[in-house]
């Protein structure tokens, strides 16, 4: 079930009413409802994949108990952790990476001059959100292993934690210490929390429907026909893709966080205005935060983090970026994309500037950014957008072709929208969007933080009006990150 579908529009109020009016006797009953709703939500795509979630839930529930029962026996604790990691990675590996490995193996042999027939390639369908929920359940066993969390005995609560529908298919990837704790505790309806949820949902829909969906046909056209366009259009395509993927994914996250708030649950922030990052390190503190912190907590720090030699820290950084790239998809383009980010991150790290902006935003104490900040933001945006050529292209050779075409055909031509729409409309929206995000840059959880109720009302109206003005029923409204 997509957030931006009529089914969800009906599903959400029904579950909301049931949750607060019928199933409100105690938290266990509410959790039963959450599990049922989540399984319906997920099963709407393909009910057969419910089995995978259920299996993952059972395995990690029991492994969690086992790890805890061997808390003082490190070897046994570790072996049970390996069971959890192996199970989840096998699940992920089979459904997401099986064909990739087979094809890469065949390609490797064909490069060496041996032709192998691909009899092992299978028609495997990628279950929606598998990368998200497997990582979330693994965080549970990791946290128990690192003695940060006690396992829950409440199986229903654990099921609700794994399958919590607002964030099940595209995150934020929650930690058990945050989400499971809320799920096991009593929840009461809070007016402020619910209104804040509605506002985030509205803002998420704006980002998805106005920014991401309206740019999608342009980006699709440019990347599909890049060999016919001049450099100006190709650069435009890359920049617009940056906005599209940001609008799409952060829009989803906002809707997820907002929806969770309606059920009295606070999810972690996933995006903090990454387009205003002053270097690549800051960008990664603001982009897909739940994944980057996952890698930091469960890979980077166990490897020694920054407490080892500079060279080893650098190795660790490269590992998490390459793994992060690979997490995104079974394609060398994503690995290359991760590698590029590691490359951009390296000088920032070596200069000791990787934590410089971790506690501040652009123009922290002023209205306007300084010229230096503007230059920093532009450079970061260019680097990140450049890396997205690899993220968006279907193959590595297509990515390099795209780049080659930019410098071989360095010319300007007006770009015409594939459906004939006026491009100016989209530029205006992007300018207003960027200015508005700048205005609210200090609080990603409250996009309408204006004192005057009239101003707030005006903004709500404009946002819904914009959604109508840019609504396009020809656009495929699925979310980009569902493929991961």
């Amino acid at each position: 079930m997509l957030f931006n579908s009529i089914e969800f529009l009906l599903f959400l109020p029904v579950i909301f009413v049931l949750y607060w009016f019928i199933f409100n006797k105690n938290v266990r009953i509410q959790n039963v409802l959450i599990v049922m709703a989540s399984y319906v939500f997920y099963g709407w795509w393909d009910w057969r994949f419910l089995l995978l979630i259920f299996l993952s839930t059972i395995v990690d529930y029991f492994v969690g108990q086992k790890i805890y029962s061997h808390l003082n026996n490190k070897a046994k604790r570790k072996s049970w952790l390996y069971v959890s990691v192996a199970f989840n990675l096998i699940l992920l590996g089979f459904f997401k990476y099986y064909n990739f490995f087979i094809d890469s193996f065949i390609d490797m042999f064909s490069l060496a001059g041996y032709e192998i027939k691909s009899i092992w390639t299978l028609k495997v369908i990628l279950p929606v959100g598998i990368s998200f929920y497997t990582f979330q359940t693994m965080s549970y066993t990791f946290d128990i292993y690192y003695k940060k969390l006690k396992p829950t005995k409440d199986f229903i609560a654990f099921m609700a934690f794994v399958s919590f529908f607002p964030q099940l298919v595209a995150g934020p990837i929650e930690r058990a210490s945050n989400l499971l704790l809320q799920i096991t505790n009593n929840r009461t309806f809070k007016y402020e929390q619910a209104t804040s949820g509605i506002k985030l949902i509205l803002w998420g829909f704006f980002k998805k429907l106005v920014i991401a969906d309206s740019l999608a046909p342009i980006v699709d056209d440019i990347f599909a026909n890049y060999h016919t366009y001049p450099a100006s259009t190709l650069i435009l395509g890359v920049c617009l893709f940056s906005f599209q993927v940001y609008g799409d994914f952060s829009g989803y996250s906002d809707i997820a966080i907002g929806t969770a708030k309606l059920f009295g649950v606070e999810l972690m922030s996933n995006f903090k205005f990454p387009n205003f990052s002053r270097n690549v390190a800051e960008y990664w503190q603001r982009w897909h935060i739940s994944l980057s912190t996952w890698f930091r907590h469960y890979i980077y720090i166990p490897l020694g983090g920054s407490k080892v030699s500079k060279l080893k820290s650098l190795r660790n950084i490269w590992i998490i970026f390459l793994v992060s790239g690979f997490w995104h998809g079974a394609n060398w383009t994503f690995v290359f994309w991760g590698g590029l980010h590691a490359l951009f991150y390296t000088p920032v790290f070596l200069m000791g500037r990787n934590r410089l902006y971790s506690k501040s935003v652009i123009a922290q104490n002023s209205i306007l950014p300084t010229p230096i900040e503007i230059i920093q933001i532009l450079i970061t945006f260019i680097l990140v957008s450049f890396s997205r050529i690899f993220f968006r292209s279907p193959t590595l050779s297509a990515s390099f072709d795209y780049i080659r075409r930019i410098y071989n055909n360095f010319s300007y031509e007006d770009y015409m929208h594939p459906m004939g729409y006026r491009m100016l409309d989209f530029y205006i929206v992007l300018i207003f969007f960027t200015i508005y995000e700048y205005l609210i840059r200090k609080d990603e959880r409250n996009p309408f933080k204006f004192n005057s109720p009239y101003v707030r009302f005006f903004i709500y109206t404009i946002i819904i009006f914009s959604i109508l003005l840019f609504y396009d029923d020809n656009v495929n409204r699925s979310f980009i990150y569902f493929q991961f």
Binding site: I6, Y191, Y421, Y471
Partner: protein, 325 residues
Amino acid sequence: MKKFIIKTSVYILLILVMLEMLIRLFHLYTEDPPRIIDEYGVEKRKPDHNGYSVTGNRNQNFSEFNINKDGFNSYREYNPTENKIEVAIIGDSFIEGFHQDYNKSIGKKIEDSITEIEIYEYGYAGYDLANQLHLIKSYKEQFKLIDVIVIYLNYESDLSRSKYTPNTDRVAMLSSNLFKIRDNIKLLSFTSKIGVLDPVKAFITGKAFTEENEGGYKTNEVDQVEKKIKRDLKYLNNFISLVNLYGYDKDKTVMLLDSRKTSSNFLAYCDANNYNYIDFASTFENSKKPTTLIYDWHWNDHGRTLIAELLSNYLKRKLNQKINE
């Protein structure tokens, strides 16, 4: 909770009111003049209406229409007499022309080119050959005085039936209170036009659950050819039936068609049986500028100019012939 529900409902209501005002202010909604079926059974617009037709979410195409006393979108009234030269152009939405200003229609362009004639445009969205021939027969007194009749024939959609029956159900539905409410609440009319309500409609009607997978069954090439042959045969038979049923003045009437979309068998039949036609395929093919609108498939101003030029040339030849006779 009570406060949340009340406040959210009030906000939603106020926002809907604001949206209604904004949509009216920017005239984002399109107007659809009421439809009627007259005493002859001819489906047309309710006479004496004017307004604006809008395409796209952001007023991408904005044009004025004027429904005359005869119930058709035109800059003029229709008063045929014996001492004038009148030409009737009959067709579907391409001739009705809600996508253009009514004073820039094909008819107006022809009149600008040949000043001594009057063009009567009988256009109505959805007209097929059955509608067209039935209209000529029903208004036979008027058409007796009209000198030339041009029938716009869209082969792919205009020959699917062999007899005209007025679509009373559709007209009744569009005149119902439900549709009147939709037309008066501009927010509804706008959201309906841009497709926002389509998923809701599909959900209510159950189509959302029954639609077939597009990537599923596909007919093979042999099936397609057989299907096409059957369809062409049916269309030709329908044409013959319609002509027999409602009559067809071969001297006065000419069809305007696009041979790229018309069956060669049908064209051969027309040639063999002296049914005149004007083919605009090569004119459009040779055009260096686009001939259709960006946002829909109707002819744009350039496309209409080309059609008008073709018709003007034909009419000039026809007039010269008449003078020589």
